[in-house]
Amino acid sequence: MSIALASRFARRELRGGLRGFRIFLACLALGVAAIAAVGTVRASIEAGLAREGAALLGGDAELELTYRFASEQERAWMAQNAEQVSEVADFRSMAVVGDERGLTQVKAVDTFYPLIGEVGLEPALPIALALGEQSVLPGAVMERVLKDRLGLEIGGVFKLGTQEFRLTAVLVDEPDGAGGGFGLGPRIIVLRDALKGSGLLESGTLFSSKYRLRLPENSNLDALSKEADEAFAQSGLRWRDGRNGAPGVAQFVDRLGAFLVLVGLSGLAVGGVGVSAAVNSYLKGKTSVIATLRTLGAERAVIFQTYFIQIGVLSLLGIAIGLALGAAAPLALAPLITERLPIPAAFAIYPKPLFEAAVYGVFTALIFTTWPLSRTENIRAATLFRDAGQSGARLPAVRYIIATAALVAALLALASWFSGTTFLTLWTAGGIMGALVLLVLAAHLIRFVARKIAPWARGRASLRWALGSISGPREEAVSVVLSLGLGLSVLAAVGQIDGNLRGAIARDLPSVAPSYFFVDIQKDQMPSYLERLNNEPAVSRIDSAPMLRGIITQINGKPASEIAGDHWVLEGDRGITYSTELPDNTRLLDGTWWAPDYAGPPLVSFAAEEAEEMNIALGDTVTVNILGRDFTATVSSFREVDFSTAGIGFIMSMNPSALSGAPHSFISTVYATPESEARILRDLSTTFPNITAIRVGDAIERVASVLAGLAAAVSYGAAATLLTGFLVLIGASAAGEQARTFEAAILRTLGATRRSILTSFALRAAILGGCAGAVALGAGILGGWAVSTFIMETSYEVIWSNALTIVLGGILATMLSGLAFAWRPLTVRPAQILRSQE
């Protein structure tokens, strides 16, 4: 009964139109739109990856091995289960044209490549033709960036190892390009047969081999995957299939998308502040209506429901607008986004992200409106006679506090479920709530300080009015600091973290990092390699170590993941070395190093920090699969391994007799003066054409550019938060316009000039904006320091350019919104205002 009646009353009230609700709608719509748009882009990429899964993989399924080709037994299993098998070897090498050298990621294929999809070439040639023999030399295709770097033209000749190739076309579309993960160099594709005699892909060389399978129709992928795992998992063979053709990319997109949605939630939280303020302001205007209804006999439930329904309808409208915008924006921008994405995306309207955004919108609206709505219960009929509307307790009834807490808990649970990471959700939520509390405290502090210092401003009228209005009974300070502060805080934190991280990589790392990494140095090449470098005066240090790669399969005889969970060391293969002596710059933290002549059962020295994380203790056994063979070693010591200097660092080092018989190559780092780097590279790669040089500076640039992209993505999320904050700010300024108009009318009556009033408005805005910026900066610096110190483990320093931008941005935004609403107070004639107040 009361619901029906409340619905009727609500409908009548809503006939008054949406005046006063524009900011409410905009805040909710923008927050929901940001989340819906991020979710839609994520869903589009996921759909694209799923649709193109087989093409991205290069087959219906793929079996991958690390630096060995498949055994007879493995090949037999593939031949038995697949209609066709294509073999691809993937490795790094140096492409050489005269004196020019470029690091490249080589894909050595067979004539079946690609099993699925088509290679895009310029000029348009079939791949078989492009890789076939061209005027005596085997053909090759490469990415344009490498072609330009080497100054090569179509028809030109370049070398890989000792083998010459003729460039036949530019590689513009590699169908299985996204599935391979992060490569350090541009791609070259050649036939594997053409590499015979190149000196590359020799025993011990670092490469991975991939076997793409075309499966019979209706093959049971689950059963095949299980069979392959059971038969070959212990030999390091890994199965993937077209259902998840690019798992690394899919996981990255999923994680980044989840994080951006959480950043979007902070925007919605700011929007919630605006929503709450708008509802408060609306209900203030409805005080006499509510009191009248109370006088006429309306119970509290009817009143609450009447306004709950109104706000509910408006919330749904705001959410609907947000969903429409969030779904439409990615569709409209699809061509632009597709062009910039290296992976396929199928842009469409996806219900799941829209549902997710709608749920977030509904919960935010409920959380931020329940509190002000509950106050309708405190409005008594006596308000019609005297200002008793907000008399009584400022806190709402306990049931509303419990309901709000329950809604927050439900929202967090949902966000954890949607994002798939409770840890990140709770930290983000904690950050948002912490920042909100900090901002409210800061706003009250600025009011307190303004009240205390106001007497000092006597004689400076504009400043005194500004301080007076900040410390006065109106809640403008809280609205301004809260609305702008959260967006600025996120932006400041991103700026500080990004600046420090990039600083650590691009500025600090080169001073301690080697100039080059050389890989694939054959054992018999090592003496002459070291001799050449020792005779080079510009070289200050050379580190080298034998390197094998293997996958940890067991710890203490149990599957490794049972003991160490999903630790990163277990993800894929890891470098392993051996050494007679404890290397000079290595510190043993526990246990003992083996004797130089030790020839007993295999022993391993493990990186201390990782061992602790993986629950590995001294005396435990670790089984590593190297080249398809299991090596079980007992952990005899823990070492300190510092990965932050980009030097050589191995998680595992074994005693020589355990590994030296296995085929392997050497890895070496060379520290040299920057001006000698090119000369050293030329000399070494001419003398040893098979070895690959990775310039650390290039790798750092590559990593830095990926980080820059990530920081940009997060900054866009923060910008949406900031825009919402700006809207809330405009709402706060609009809400205060009437009071400012009256204030200005009185001041002008008393003889104040418009200039002095405008100065006072500007000062007020600047103080509040500066305060919001300063708090955001504090939060940003704290966040930056915490992430740098505890997560990245790098040194931290304040990025002052970012800090200054944040504070100035806060001041500018507040002044803009404040002064936009200064026009009416300054232009309306005082008599007009004062008469209307009588």
Binding site: M1, R15, A381
Partner: protein, 225 residues
């Protein structure tokens, strides 16, 4: 005669910015069924506050108040609201019509709250009684002050209240409109046999009531019948 409204040693104090303020002190009075009572006195003497206490709009700080035999001090806010919509009509100086509702909807609201299925038909009749049948779909902002007060009067009377409380109903009207409203008020009171409590500054209006209570400095200064 039976007292329909009865106050015993009623006291009202409110917390203000300057501390606790005594609004009414030691008020005892009885209003008999079907009679009219005028509350007069200088501004700030507590006339409107006394009216609020009678309507259950304000809580007593001390003493008791009964209306239609029910102890208003024992009722919670919702019980008071239900009591008002069943038995009381209140008219304000500032009309207090709901701006988003038409005249008809304003008048029908108390009946709707009471769950009356014929709310709109009865409201239409009541508007006709106050001479506003041509204004039923107009909003308050589209009507003159006199018309708005007629709507407010119709809204107060549509539930056929046993008690009618009026707080300076002509205070915001010119003399002609004020006189017309008062005529209507007494006419409707007589029609329904309601008990009327009228707050007014006008001695002429007060003299039309069966009894007059003069307040001064928060107490009853004089009572005339």
């Amino acid at each position: 005669m039976t007292a329909i409204l009865s106050l015993k040693d009623a006291t009202l104090s409110l917390d203000g910015n300057a501390g606790r303020v005594d609004i009414l002190h030691g008020i005892s009075l009885d209003v008999e069924k079907g009679r009219s009572l005028a509350l007069v006195g200088p501004s700030g003497s507590g006339k409107s506050s006394l009216l609020m206490l009678m309507g259950g709009l304000e809580r007593l700080s001390g003493g008791t108040i009964t209306a239609l035999g029910q102890d208003l001090t024992a009722m919670n806010e919702d019980a008071l609201a239900r009591f008002r919509r069943a038995s009381m009509g209140i008219v304000f100086q500032s009309f207090h019509l709901i701006p988003t509702m038409t005249a008809l909807e304003n008048v029908a609201t108390p009946l709707e709250l009471a769950g009356d299925k014929d709310a709109f038909a009865k409201a239409e009749v009541e508007l006709e009684t106050v001479g506003l049948s041509h204004r039923i779909s107009h909003y308050p902002s589209q009507m003159s002050g006199g018309e708005q007060q007629r709507v407010a009067l119709a809204r107060a009377m549509v539930v056929r209240p046993q008690i009618l409380l009026a707080d300076e109903p002509t205070g915001n009207l010119d003399e002609t409109n004020g006189n017309a409203i008062m005529e209507l008020l007494f006419e409707l009171q007589a029609r329904d046999g309601a008990t009327l409590v009228l707050v007014t500054h006008s001695n002429a209006l007060a003299s039309r009531c069966d009894s007059v209570i003069r307040l001064r400095e928060n107490r009853i200064d004089e009572s005339q019948t």
